[in-house]
C-alpha cells in the first residue's frame, strides 16, 4: 500500500509499504483523509524517537467488525484494556499502550491503518469527511473542560493562533470564558476574529499579568515563558505543547508566583463529534490546502509554512 513512513532519514513516501497485519481486536480502516498535526512535525524532529507510518488524525471506512463499510474516526491510544489504568477508565494513560503514528504503532498516513475496534467512533451522516478529520484535535481541545472548571476563570488567554489554538479558543469561549487569542500571524488571527473571539498580535500586546488562565498552544519552547508573563500570580496554565528536545524554560516563575501547570493531551471523541454534528465548532475554515499521499513531502513542508493551518492528505483518491 501507499504510506508515508518516518525513518532515521526522515519521512518518505513509499508506494509499496507492506500492509501491517491486524493485532488482536484491531480492525483495518481504509483511510479517506488524514490531517497533519504539529506533533507529526515534532516527531520528524525526533520527538518520541518514533519510526513507522506517521499520522493520527484521520477519517476512513471500517473494513471489518461491527462498523464494516461505515465511516469512522479512531482514538489514537491503543491500550491493554486490562491494567489498573484501563480499569479506572483512564485507558489513555495505560502504561502498556501504543499510539497510532506516535508510539510503536503504524499510523494513518497510509491507505490502511489498523485500529482497535474499541477505539472507533461512527461519524454522523451530516459530518463531512473534512470535518471528521478534525475529531482528534478537537477532542484534545475538549479535554480542557474535563480537567478544569472553566466557569471559575474570569479572563483566559489562548497563546498560539495555529490549528490547536483555534480549536481550544472555540471550546473555551463556548464554555463561557472571556478569551483572547494571542498569536503571531494576522491571517490566522483573522479566522478566529471571524468567529467572534477576541484576538491580538503578540507584538502589539503589553505583557501584563492579568489572565487567570493561559492555554499554551504555541508548539514552541518559548510558549511557557510568554504564558508566565501574561498570567496572574496563582493563575493556571494549561500545557498543550509537546516538543522535541531535552530542555524547557526555567520554572522559577512557576514557584515564585505559585502557578498551577496542567498538562493536557487527548480528549473525548464523543464530545468532539457531537460538536461537529451540531455545528457548534467551525473547523473547515482551518483547512489551508490539501495534497495526495504521494505528495506528502510537499504537504509536510506546507504544514510548516505560515500562514497555513490544517493541511490535509486526500488518501482514498490515490
Amino acid at each position: 500500500m501507499q504510506a508515508c513512513v518516518l525513518t532515521a532519514n526522515g519521512p518518505q513516501f513509499e508506494a509499496d509499504y507492506p500492509t501491517p497485519p491486524c493485532g488482536e481486536g484491531e480492525v483495518p480502516v481504509r483511510v479517506i483523509t488524514a490531517g497533519i498535526c504539529e506533533t507529526d512535525l515534532q516527531l520528524i524532529q525526533g520527538y518520541m524517537g518514533f519510526q513507522g507510518v506517521l499520522g493520527h488524525e484521520f477519517v476512513g471506512v471500517a473494513e471489518d467488525g461491527p462498523f464494516e463499510g461505515q465511516r469512522v474516526v479512531g482514538e489514537i491510544n491503543c491500550s491493554c484494556r486490562d491494567c489498573e489504568w484501563c480499569n479506572a477508565d483512564l485507558a489513555n494513560h495505560c502504561p502498556h499502550r501504543s499510539v497510532l503514528g506516535i508510539l510503536d504503532h503504524d499510523g494513518a498516513f497510509a491507505q490502511t491503518v489498523n485500529v482497535p475496534q474499541e477505539n472507533l467512533h461512527l461519524v454522523p451522516d451530516n459530518v463531512s469527511d473534512d470535518e471528521a478529520v478534525f475529531t482528534e484535535p478537537l477532542a484534545a481541545a475538549f479535554q480542557i473542560p474535563t480537567q478544569l472548571d472553566l466557569d471559575s476563570f474570569d479572563s483566559a488567554v489562548v497563546l498560539g493562533d495555529g490549528r490547536l489554538g483555534n480549536l481550544c479558543a472555540q471550546v473555551i469561549s463556548q464554555a463561557g470564558c472571556d478569551v483572547t487569542v494571542i498569536g503571531k500571524h494576522e491571517e490566522k488571527l483573522s479566522i478566529i476574529d471571524e468567529l467572534g473571539i477576541a484576538t491580538a498580535l503578540l507584538s502589539d500586546v503589553v505583557l501584563e499579568r492579568t489572565a487567570d488562565l493561559v492555554v499554551d498552544c504555541t508548539g514552541s519552547p518559548t510558549g511557557l515563558t510568554t504564558a508566565c508573563q501574561l498570567l496572574r500570580p496563582r493563575g493556571t496554565i494549561v500545557l498543550k505543547t509537546t516538543i522535541a528536545g531535552d530542555s524547557g524554560p526555567s520554572l522559577a516563575p512557576v514557584v515564585i508566583d505559585e502557578m498551577t501547570l496542567i498538562g493536557s493531551r487527548c480528549g473525548p471523541f464523543d464530545t468532539a463529534l457531537q460538536a461537529l454534528e451540531s455545528n457548534a465548532i467551525h473547523v473547515t475554515p482551518l483547512i489551508s490546502t490539501r495534497f495526495r499521499l504521494r505528495e506528502v513531502e510537499k504537504a509536510l513542508t506546507a504544514a510548516r509554512t505560515s500562514p497555513n493551518l490544517k493541511v490535509l492528505l486526500d488518501i482514498s483518491s490515490g
Copy 2:
C-alpha cells in the same frame, strides 16, 4: 554595623556597613541568629540578580514599635498593603513587594535588619532562638497543605533530603499522608528516619511511577525529571525548587501524562510558630554547625557541603 553583603564580586563580610534607614512602617530588628538557606546559595549564583545584605531566615529583638524588646521573627515579603493583591489577602504576591535579602531590600545577615511591623510575629517563650530561626522555612513547608488537600493523596514522595525536604516531609507526614523521602545522602536521611518517616537512597530506588504526589525539594535542575519518573500519570508535583539559570527540564512528560505542577513558596508563620511551640515539628536536629557573622564565607562554604544541613550564623554574639 557588621553585615554579609552580596555584590557583583560575591558575598563579603563588611565590618562597617552603613545601617540602612527604616522605611515607612518598618522597625529595626537586632538579629540574634540567622540561617543559611538554599536560596542564599542560589542568589550567590545569580538567581534574581540580587545585590545587598543577604539573609531572610532570622530571629531577633524588635528595637521599636509594639514588640519593642521582645523576640520576633519576620515574614520576608514587604508588600505595599494597598493593591489588589494585598487587599485580597495575598500580600505575598504583591507585585510592588520587596523581599528581605532577596529582592530590593537588605536582609538579615547583619546586626540590624529593618522589617515592616506588620511582618513581625512574636516568638513564644518556650521556642528557643535556634528553633525560631526555622520559622520561615517551616512556614514554606506549611504552605503545601494550604494549597492541596493532602488527604486526597495515597502515596507521597519528598524528593530531596536537605533542609526543606526534611521540613516538608514532617509537615506532609503529620497531615496523614504516607510519605517517603528519597535523597542522596545517608546521613541526612538518617535524621529523617529517626522521626519515623520512611526514607530511601535514590541510588537504591527502582524508578516506578507509583506516587500520587511528589514534592521537589532537590534544589536541582534534575529534580523535576526525577519527580516525573516517580509520579503516576495525572499525579501532582509540588515545586519548591528555585534555581539560577534560564532553562529547565523538558515538560513533554507533564503534557503526555497530564500531570499537575504547583509552585509553592512562602507560607503561614502562625502555623509554623504553633508547630514549634507544641513540639510537633523537630528542627534542632537539622542544625549542623554554626559560625559568627565575621566567618560568613566559611559558613556559606559549609552550607554547600554535604552532609551539612542547616548552618546558623550567631550574629548577636559579635
